[in-house]
Amino acid sequence: MTRRKVFGGVFLALVGLYFLLPLAAAIEFSLRDVGDTHSLEVWKTLFQQDGFVTNLLTSLKLALGTVALTLLIMVPTVTLIHLRMPQFRRTMEAICVLPLAIPAVVLANGVFVAFQGAPPWLNGTPVILCLEYVVLSLPFTYRALDAGLSAIPVVALVEASRTLGGGWATALLRVVVPNLRTAILNVSILAAALALGEFTLASLLLMDTLPVWTVSAGQSNGAVATAASMLILIVSWVLLLVMSVLSRRRSRTPRRSR
């Protein structure tokens, strides 16, 4: 083995420890029982906890909504920018990074003020949170789509489709989307992860989501809260896995370099 490989291995192990140690500790903590014994007691009671299942479902719906809305809005928009106004790519990127620079408190207050007169199905419901999450995930989702579109000759492909008789919908759905599989998968994962784990905004807007529930549960029972956060993590991972398996099975394109 070369020195470089040894170095790489050690480095990787250190980084792995850095990430995994806290997780392992948290899991161990959630498994503790009276005395020095371990059991699944906390995990068993988790689902019987007041409000847990409702909030879990809310968070899952939020994630689904955020992903769907992000894809619906962003895929056509970013495609259009690449096709028609490539000179605005920089500007768009700058705008899309804004949510990172605006503190959650400011954002929450803004939402309060802006949506004061909004219809009841929107105001004070998770729908508004979903809209917020679409915006909050923009810094990541825009870049992922932008990178995906930059990797394919999108103008040529769309023009080829048009000269063969396809309209704009054909170009988008049959040409652009199938070639953006990886980017779309990345966007979905990013948006879902954000929606599943976001706490500050949900809490400030007085919404009941799993992270909000977890924090309040943690005030009375640390172990339950830890188990809940681990569950969020596990759900995210499972989603990630499912999506990547799905995308691999459906895309028959051999990804080879030219």
Binding site: P153, L164, G165, P178, R252
Partner: protein, 350 residues
């Protein structure tokens, strides 16, 4: 094999096509009549507006003014997907997520052709470009030349009224380029499809076109058969762009010009000191110790030998001679240069 004669081939008539980008007039008042079933090349240096003109025919670009009439119908404002034309691009236009056969079948699928039928038809078209054995390969598994063949099959599959090709061979290496060029021409003849072929390569244009439209700065310089364009260029630009030219100083005198002691007829009357444009094959050499030229280089090129010399006034001169005639000359020898009695073009003296 199925008969694939195209019955939809249509004539094209461009009138006063103009398109500007900011201050740049990419196409400037282009008029062009293209007959049904004809292969016409748009030839010119890079940036002269060929692609823009082609994209205007395709509907991928709008005209500022002028009309595009195809098969007697004004389609100036018809969107690209309703024009019933198809296009082969310079490169990378195959759909990466579809196999070769699915790429070819793409247009048929949009037209609602059943899967089994379009598959069969796609294979037929791939046979036409000798790629049926690669029907299930993806674009990334094909060479550049093979990709362009698939692109051609895809364009032909929808039986378009007009086939548009924008430098489809320029990304390929020389050998494949020549082979594919001949294949395109053969197919085009066989299918009788109206074809507009954009290229900056004069040899490509000369070898495969029924007619060539030479463009410069967005304008049409000359349109005619390859032989016409080559032997009777209408402007100095065309003369110099096609083939090579000697630049010899001369004195014009109305309908004739005196150059290196010879009198030649002028294509366009002129007067005073001019630069005369003369093709290397129009230069005649005779062995003569008292001649007007010293030979500097002789290079054998198979059937033709290129003899380069210097006139006594210092002007370099190139002659292309049949190799049998050139055998009598030697480097450093003295010869007398005269020119074939053909009308010549002139430019302002350097």
């Amino acid at each position: 094999m199925t008969v694939l004669i195209n019955e939809k081939a249509a004539s094209i008539s461009l009138t006063g096509i103009t398109r500007s980008y900011g201050a740049v007039r990419a196409v400037d008042g282009l008029d062009l009549e293209i007959a049904s079933g004809e292969l016409i090349s748009l030839l010119g240096p890079s940036g002269c507006g060929k692609t823009t003109a082609l994209r205007i025919i395709a509907g991928l670009e709008q005209t500022d003014s002028g009309t595009v009439v195809v098969g007697g119908k004004d389609i100036t404002r018809t969107p690209a997907n309703k024009r019933d034309m198809s296009m082969v691009f310079q490169s990378y236009s195959l759909f990466p997520h579809l196999s070769a056969a699915d790429n070819v079948a793409f247009g048929l699928r949009l037209r609602g052709v059943k899967p089994a039928v379009r598959r069969r038809r796609a294979i037929e078209l791939l046979e036409l470009v000798s790629l049926d054995h690669h029907a299930d390969r993806y674009p990334s598994e094909l060479s550049g030349g093979q990709q362009q063949r698939v692109a051609l099959a895809r364009a032909l599959a929808v039986e378009p009224k007009v086939l548009l090709l924008d430098e489809p061979l320029s990304a390929l290496d020389a050998k494949v380029r020549i082979q594919l060029r001949d294949e395109i021409r053969t197919l085009q003849r066989r299918l009788g499809i109206t074809t507009v072929f954009v290229t900056h390569d004069q040899e490509e244009a000369l070898s495969m076109s029924d007619r060539i439209a030479v463009m410069s700065n967005g304008r049409l310089e000359q349109c005619g058969s390859p032989a016409e364009i080559y032997s009777r260029p209408a402007t100095p630009f065309v003369a110099e762009f096609i083939g090579s030219m000697n630049h010899v100083p001369g004195i014009a005198d109305g309908a004739t010009v005196t150059v290196s002691g010879s009198r030649l007829p002028l294509s366009v009357p002129g007067s005073g000191a001019v630069t005369v444009l003369i093709r290397p094959e129009a230069v005649r050499l005779t062995d003569d110790p008292n001649g007007n030229t010293t030979i500097t280089t002789i290079s054998f090129r198979g059937p033709v030998t290129r003899v380069i010399g210097r006139l006594d006034d210092g002007t370099p001169i190139t002659a292309d001679l049949p190799s049998v005639q050139a055998a009598s000359f030697a480097e450093g020898g003295r010869v007398h240069v005269t020119y074939a009695e053909e009308p010549v073009l002139t430019k302002a003296a350097d």
